[in-house]
Symmetry: C2
Subunit: 200 residues, 2 copies
């Protein structure tokens, strides 16, 4: 593939290939589509990418992406400041927010512990989380990392670290997802769902 496209198109294809899970074929499809758009549509995409790093910063309290510091959630006086939810990334925060079931504050780790990839407590800035526990009067820490190997390890590590603080540590429940047929649930999920069964 390549070499028959003009340089400007090849350059865009190369740049689009850097996106996660995008090979040269998909990048070519996207680039040809962008070329098919009206020029203002393409310019709007270009400008929104160009402005991204300039506009977005990390909230210095919770490390969520934001255009202000502190972020709108940390600055919102209606949120419950005694409960803190730890998530791996910004997309997790967004999912929990859109569930509407959480009214506390967040802490974004921007990753999960993974020694093989060189991600340790320092990369996740765990000290900043513990610092919040020690100074901000937090009563409950909800560990909302994923139920993957790395997410579980991160939760276990954080629970261990929190022992020295007067804080209740909780973890998201694990069980059958809503709308899922029991016969399609995997064995581990079923085991956890049975262990955590409740009276009905």
């Amino acid at each position: 593939m390549s070499k028959a496209f003009p340089p400007a198109l090849e350059r865009l294809i190369k740049n689009l290939s850097r996106l996660p899970g995008i090979g040269e074929k998909t990048a070519t499809r996207y680039a040809l589509q962008i070329l098919r758009w009206q020029e203002p549509t393409a310019q709007e995409l270009a400008v929104s990418i160009a402005e991204l790093h300039r506009k977005i910063l990390l909230c210095s309290t919770c490390f969520a992406f934001s255009e202000q510091d502190p972020c709108p959630i940390c600055a919102d006086s209606r949120r419950n400041r005694e409960i803190l939810c730890v998530v791996e990334g910004p997309a997790d925060l967004l999912s929990i927010e859109s569930s509407g079931a959480f009214n506390g504050l967040y802490h974004v780790l921007h990753g999960a512990l993974s020694p093989s990839e060189g991600v340790g407590p320092e990369e996740l800035r765990v000290d900043r989380l513990l610092n919040r526990l020690g100074t901000q009067g937090i009563k409950e820490l909800v560990l909302a990392t994923s139920s993957t190997v790395a997410g579980e390890a991160t939760a276990a590590y954080l629970a261990q670290c929190c022992k020295e603080f007067p804080v209740t540590v909780t973890r998201l429940a694990c069980g059958i997802p809503m709308g899922m047929d029991v016969k399609y649930a995997d064995q581990l999920t079923l085991k956890r769902a049975l262990e955590a069964r409740f009276s009905y």
Copy 2:
């Protein structure tokens, strides 16, 4: 989803969602990845999108994307000017070029006949193709449209149109793809492969 991300991120997600086959979740993944890049990498992507429409034009002879008019293929004196290959789109041209099996000129239709979507001979600028046949001393026309319903219809229509010109009309062979197990080939492909069997 959405509303918890800062506006600059939401804007990029909305713009990325316009790409083919990209929903809000994938657009979010791409946007967060771009934010994770170093800023110069993101700027490089932004600039390559911003420059695309300004740099790329259609070759006025073959309608391929190019930065010059005529395009490098039309301008190349080493190409065989007596054989013309008709393709649906720029990606098809690229695939044929990278096969290294074709040394003639091209004609890009930018689509295939599809009356239900309002794509007729006029949208494909078939008159410009016939004009080339009448004036440029072309001896063979290779119909390299896809073997889809629309591609086959386009090939059949073009073959009909070419009857009035002293040109040999050929079509890409249809059969088992290289490396494919016969047991996985579909019935229609097998039928065509049997009909077109050759002495070995």
